[in-house]
């Protein structure tokens, strides 16, 4: 069974540009989560999508946005890139029944570098 996949592996942008990161969840998983892992800062929760809807977002500015498609894949968009957006962006997927919560399975990440 294929795991969570993310593309691209690496992304280099300059300040002010926009970045689009993509994630495909494990087959059958309806929830997708996005995290930012900046150097030395651990995992910071960005966004949670389930069944095509945004369920929750972390403490990030509105220029971080995303969406989930009918096939449950997801995109994370970062507008007006700033140097401090340089980080590893991790996507995770899980089964979410609305009653119980299951473990998240993580993808390999997209390393975004903003110059």
């Amino acid at each position: 069974e294929a795991g969570v996949t993310q593309s691209p592996t690496h992304l280099i942008k300059t300040r002010g540009q926009q970045a689009t990161l993509r994630c495909s969840p494990i087959s059958g998983h309806t929830s997708v989560y996005w995290y930012q892992q900046a150097l030395g800062l651990g995992l910071q929760f960005l966004l949670w999508y389930d069944e095509g809807e945004e369920r929750n977002r972390g403490n990030f500015p509105p220029r971080f946005s995303g969406r989930q498609f009918p096939n449950y894949s997801s995109e994370l968009n970062v507008n007006a890139l700033e140097l401090e957006d340089s980080a590893l962006y991790l996507c995770a997927s899980s089964l979410y029944s609305g009653v119980s919560y299951n473990e998240q399975f993580f993808g390999p990440g997209t390393r975004l570098t903003v110059l």
Binding site: Y35, G42, L43, F45, W48, N56, G98, Y101, F106, G109
Partner: protein, 114 residues
């Protein structure tokens, strides 16, 4: 508010030593889930264990064991007879039953030296 504290930033042990990674959490929810993840140098987080707040039984899986103590809000992770391949960053995480908020601890970097 929810919070996960992993007070040990970095730990170094020599192979075959036992090591315990501490995790202390804060939550007002009565139902919640706790997790441990491993992040090896390759970067991809690997799920290790899930525990719900109603299950305080300790768990052992091979060289890994977990001690969940609700009274002290701790969910500690012990590796017995550590190996070089155990070198990684280990994250403890917490979420309430409805999954509305996901909080990871800052991680503990474990280095197992040969």
């Amino acid at each position: 508010a929810q919070k996960v504290t992993q007070a040990q930033t970095e730990i170094s042990v020599v192979e075959k030593e036992d090591v315990t990674l501490d995790c202390v959490y804060e939550t007002r929810d009565t139902t919640y889930y706790l997790f441990w993840y491993k992040q090896p140098p390759s970067g991809e987080l690997v799920f290790l264990i899930r525990r719900n707040s109603f299950d305080e039984q300790n768990e052992i899986s091979g060289r890994y064991s977990w001690n969940f103590q609700k009274s002290t809000s701790s969910f500690n992770f012990t590796i017995t007879a550590s190996q070089v391949v155990d070198s990684a960053v280990y994250f403890c995480a917490l979420t309430p039953r409805d999954g509305q908020n996901f909080v990871f601890g800052p991680g503990t970097r474990l280095s197992v030296l040969p």
